[in-house]
């Protein structure tokens, strides 16, 4: 009931007074927030991921991946077709700069053994199956590493499942060397479910920002796009 009331209040608020036009990046990127949620906080259905606060280089690479057919979603590709690389980077930087609170995670509704397996894979990997631990690249706190490695918390289980699945089948790709494709192809279907369930059930740490650099060299080489001339992420 409280949720319903909250929704009604939101809907009422949206209809009552249209906000004034402001020449800001938020205004320019309303085309993004229609699906990715207000200010890029993610939509409640879990299909469109949160983009607010993800590292700028990661977001920029995803825009290029959609435009160049390494990721597939027709609505995204179509929005990007008329944009320039410097503007795409600016859009990426805009969403990366948003520092917004995260909602609490949904409690996992999977068997304890699966969660346990997920926890293991995330924190220790599986040497026998040649699976590195997520934390080795995505940071001890799993909040990502600037500029190109995304955090893994604060996205829905459905989204994580879908992305890992797409990487296993080659439906989602990245610039070469495509490190996540190598990792995902080592994961058994149950491993995907385990990792997604565990990650989606974790709260964000007190400091949810991507870390500046990893303490140790990551186990895999990952490809990323060059930034447009004269721009840094």
């Amino acid at each position: 009931m409280r949720t319903l009331l909250f929704c009604l209040v939101l809907a009422g608020g949206a209809a009552a007074a249209a906000p004034q036009f402001e020449d800001t990046m938020a205004q320019r990127t309303l085309a993004c927030s229609a699906c990715h949620g207000k200010e890029g906080r993610a939509a409640p259905d879990g299909y469109y991921p949160r983009i607010a606060g993800k590292p700028a280089g990661y977001l920029y690479n995803q825009l290029l991946n959609f435009r160049e057919g390494r990721r597939h979603y027709a609505l995204m590709a179509r929005l990007l077709d008329a944009l320039s690389e410097p503007y795409m980077l600016e859009i990426a930087q805009h969403f990366a700069s948003l520092d917004l609170p995260y909602p609490p995670p949904r409690p996992a509704s999977v068997p304890q053994a699966l969660l346990q397996r997920g926890h293991e894979l995330v924190t220790q990997g599986d040497a026998k199956a040649k699976i590195p631990a997520c934390v080795q690249c995505h940071g001890e706190r799993l909040t990502g590493v600037a500029p190109n490695t995304p955090g893994l918390l604060g996205v829905s289980r459905d989204y994580l499942n879908a992305q890992l699945g797409a990487w296993r089948t080659g439906q989602r790709r990245a610039q070469a060397p495509d490190c996540m494709a190598q990792v995902a192809k080592q994961l058994a279907p149950d491993d995907v479910a385990a990792v997604a369930a565990w990650l989606a059930s974790q709260p964000l740490p007190a400091d949810p920002h991507p870390i500046a650099s990893l303490a140790q060299r990551p186990p895999l080489e990952c490809g990323s796009a060059h930034f447009p001339t004269g721009k840094a992420p």
Binding site: P19, Q27, L30, L75, L79, A82, L83, S84
Partner: protein, 428 residues
């Protein structure tokens, strides 16, 4: 019938067939001449730069590059009502590109629509326009393409239905609809007009979209620019000869130039396929060529206003629903009265694109959203969200109908079926 008569009739038929074949063959080969063959010397940097510019004016890269592929290496699928045509590799790879082509071969492709090996080319490659390109421009383009890194990418075979897949069908089509030509200068018109005519009709190939095609994919008068639905893509390229569509006869030249160079003008914004044309081609026009195109487009003979039946008022239920959706999703940017925000969000009141008799574009924009092109003149465009996942066919039809019937707009409703058709043909 006696045996003798049968023999006579058969002979006559055979002779007639032979004459027809000869006529078709002649119609296909007329106007071909070898012309000078470029020696294989290194081209000057100037000539290469000129070729690069002309290749941009022709927007060759748009079709000859597949999504995520190497520029000019071909492979992009072009959907046509007759099947799929794949663009070819224009890089100088000897085996798979144009590495073995001479400048005369290249000229023959542009001017006569025939490949180096003699094959007739499909007019998805707009040689009915490119035939007007001057030989020296063709040579400059050739030199630029030859300066690119060679990429080995074998051409993808077309997937066309029979009989369109045959060279003889293409020969008949060409006999009916294609004639090699040159752009003759009109001494009664100023030089800018003549330059504009050359660019718009030839390399710019504006008529490839802005002129309607018949059932065989041909333009009856390919230069009339009176608007056409782009096959398969379901975008309507509006008439450039109508003041109610995209005619610019009453625009200031500077505004026409601004639209070509930046995608944004006080009275219009480009979106959809034209956004890509501006992004990849017209924003790179030299000031002189942008001016020349504007002069020519402004001077196009304007058609009489088309008579349109007065629109029926909307059903109350549709109007109420449309108004509610407009308030919720559209008014924030386009304003309570469809007034828009100058430079950011187009006004919808009195907007020609909103009031077109063909509603394809409006449905496209509401379902798929989009950004105007990011150009030097408008580097950070404001975007329109896609509503395909938010609005049902009924909701989209209601809000579009509301927009077409409010604030002085009187263009009539869009049906749920119109939206559904568009959604199923062009949306994920």
């Amino acid at each position: 019938m006696t045996a003798k008569r049968i023999v006579i009739a058969a002979t006559a038929l055979a002779a007639l067939a032979a004459v027809l074949v000869a006529v078709v063959a002649w119609l296909n080969l007329r106007g071909e001449s070898e012309g000078p063959v470029e020696a294989g010397t290194a081209a000057s940097a100037d000539a290469v730069a000129r070729g690069a510019y002309l290749v941009r004016v022709g927007n060759c890269i748009a079709c000859h590059t597949e999504r995520g592929g190497v520029a000019f290496a071909g492979g992009r699928a072009i959907d046509t009502p007759f099947g799929v045509v794949y663009s070819s590799n224009l890089t100088p790879d000897a085996a798979t590109g144009i590495g073995a082509w001479s400048s005369a071969d290249f000229w023959r492709a542009l001017h006569n629509g025939r490949a180096r090996d003699g094959r007739l080319l499909y007019p998805a490659f707009p040689y009915p326009n490119y035939t007007l390109v001057a030989r020296e421009d063709s040579d400059a383009m050739y030199r630029y393409l030859r300066s690119l890194p060679a990429t080995a990418r074998p051409n993808t075979p077309h997937r066309l239905r029979w009989p369109y897949s045959t060279q003889s069908a293409l020969a008949v089509w060409r006999a009916l609809y294609f004639r090699p030509g040159t752009q003759e200068s009109d001494p009664a018109k100023p030089p800018e007009w003549n330059r504009g005519a050359y660019l718009v009709r030839g390399l710019g190939h504006c008529s490839a979209c802005h002129t309607a095609r018949n059932a065989l994919g041909a333009s009856s008068d390919m230069m009339d620019l009176s608007g056409g639905l782009i096959p398969m893509q379901n975008w309507y390229a509006p008439s450039l000869t109508s003041r109610n569509q995209a005619g610019v006869a009453d625009w200031e030249l500077a505004q026409i130039e601004a639209l070509l160079l930046s995608g944004l003008a006080p009275r219009g914004t480009v979106l959809g396929p034209m956004a890509e044309v501006v992004l990849q081609s017209t924003q790179h026009l030299s000031p002189g060529d942008a001016h020349a195109m504007a002069v020519f487009l402004k001077a196009l003979p304007q058609a009489k206003d088309e008579a349109r039946a007065p629109a029926l008022p909307l059903a109350t239920r549709v109007e109420e629903r449309g108004a509610k959706i407009y308030e919720r999703h559209c008014a924030q940017c386009h304003g309570d009265k469809g007034e828009g925000v100058a430079g950011a969000y187009p006004a919808l009141a009195g907007n020609r694109a909103v009031n077109l008799p063909v509603t394809a574009n409006l449905v496209q924009v509401v379902l798929g959203g989009g950004f105007p092109p990011a150009t030097a003149g408008n580097p950070r465009p404001f975007g329109m969200p896609p509503y395909a996942t938010i609005l049902s066919d009924e909701d989209a039809a209601a809000v579009i109908s509301h927009i077409r019937m409010s604030w002085g707009n009187r263009s009539g409703a869009v049906s749920e079926l119109d939206v559904a058709r568009q959604r199923s043909s062009t949306m994920p």
